[in-house]
Symmetry: C2
């Protein structure tokens, strides 16, 4: 679990199943501090447990509160999620902006929490008044209909991604014994295929040969071939030329 | 709908309910091109319709295909989503990187699509081989368990956000008749409260007065008060001083 990860506070959640799905969404994002204010169907709730599947620990450690105020009492910064901006004079952030803010704050030891309202109506204005800022996901204005767990997922995802180590921009799945071909291996393949293309009369004009060779090389260069793939391609060239030699002989 | 929005291709989806929830997740993100390859329970599917709720149009316009190849035939760039990197020599992108790439491509007229595999097992390696890159959401490595609609939501959300107009970094919900207080109104309030504080003997030392005034002003400055709120605060000060005057008289 991430140290200083924000608490997820569900105010007046209705269905146990949704609480379980929230727990699951949370754990995907490395969040584990779940707080429940007046869950309608009581607590513990068997429907929440079955919907949580692998995220049972989040459900088991969830804490129950009578009021939103008590649920956020130990926190320093609270964010209120709403489906639409409300008529309140408060900063409005996207989940990404809130995530960046929370990351900075948790580094400074500030404990954060995010409020989510009931499925049917969202947060009460009195709950929003407890928050330092409002969080709004910038979705399709003509159709904005996330369920509770999806809302938690988007905010949690942004929080998780904001702290994830930078991802290699074009990482390749080259693993284990597979490694990229060295340039020597690649050039060896280029020599091989170009020699065979010369032999079969592929280059009809000496003028055009350099450009055609460059084009071909670029095609294979772009594939970022592994050493194994270079050997496969050499096999392909050898196979094709054998067939051609046979046909020629026949 | 966003022009050039990527198609969502579900390969071997199992539950109709999940297809409906995918449609709903899509519409939240402005996506409407849903393609189904061999849905297990046939098509149309009543469970999909009821789970789609408001996103019925996406379900009604969904297209059915026999093979993944046919489903992506008209597309120029295809992304394959996987829960974990697979042993394939292919670029691996986060949803954010894929979204940025797709936005650039669609501007150039390239049609994109994103493949999602069946709920239980994800995409077959043969489907991944049809894709130009793999998309992996960087979630909690110890617990990575998104359902189909949540996977579509994350990728669609990133696509939507990548094209959304830049959000005002600290936009305020000041709307309609409510407007921020002018500095004149704010300074009027400062004069008011400081005059009253002088009158009641709040400033015990003339030396410290300037700093205490600055601190107080900073508190209210930070609140970015509306004109209405300034009037409310002036009322508060007037009310408090009336009570004090009464006590003094009594």
């Amino acid at each position: 679990m991430d140290g200083g990860a924000p608490a997820i506070v569900l105010v007046d959640p209705q269905l146990g199943e949704n609480i379980g799905m929230v727990a699951r969404a949370m754990l995907n994002c490395g969040l584990s501090d779940l707080r429940l204010v007046r869950p309608r169907d009581g607590w513990p709730n068997p429907a929440a447990i079955s919907a949580a599947s692998g995220a049972l620990a989040v459900i088991e450690n969830a804490r129950l509160f009578e009021t939103t105020g008590e649920a956020v009492a130990d926190l320093h910064a609270v964010y209120a999620t709403t489906a639409r901006p409300r008529g309140m004079n408060k900063r409005v952030l996207t989940p990404r902006m809130a995530a960046a803010e929370m990351r900075v704050q948790t580094t400074a030891g500030t404990r954060c929490g995010i409020l989510f309202g009931k499925e049917s109506k969202g947060l009460h204005n009195d709950d929003i008044a407890l928050a330092d800022a409002v969080v709004n996901a910038p979705l399709n204005p003509a159709f904005c209909s996330l369920n509770l767990a999806q809302g938690v997922l988007l905010v949690g995802y942004e929080w998780h991604v904001a702290g994830a180590p930078a991802f290699e921009p074009s990482a390749f799945l080259t693993r284990g014994t597979r490694r990229l071909a060295t340039k020597e291996e690649l050039l060896g393949f280029f020599d091989h295929i170009e020699r065979e293309l010369d032999a079969c009369g592929f280059f009809t004009s000496a003028d055009k040969r350099p450009r055609m060779v460059r084009n071909l090389r670029n095609i294979f260069q772009r594939s970022q071939l592994t050493e194994q793939e270079v050997r496969t391609l050499r096999g392909v060239v050898a196979g094709l030329t054998r067939a051609w030699m046979k046909r020629k002989r026949a």
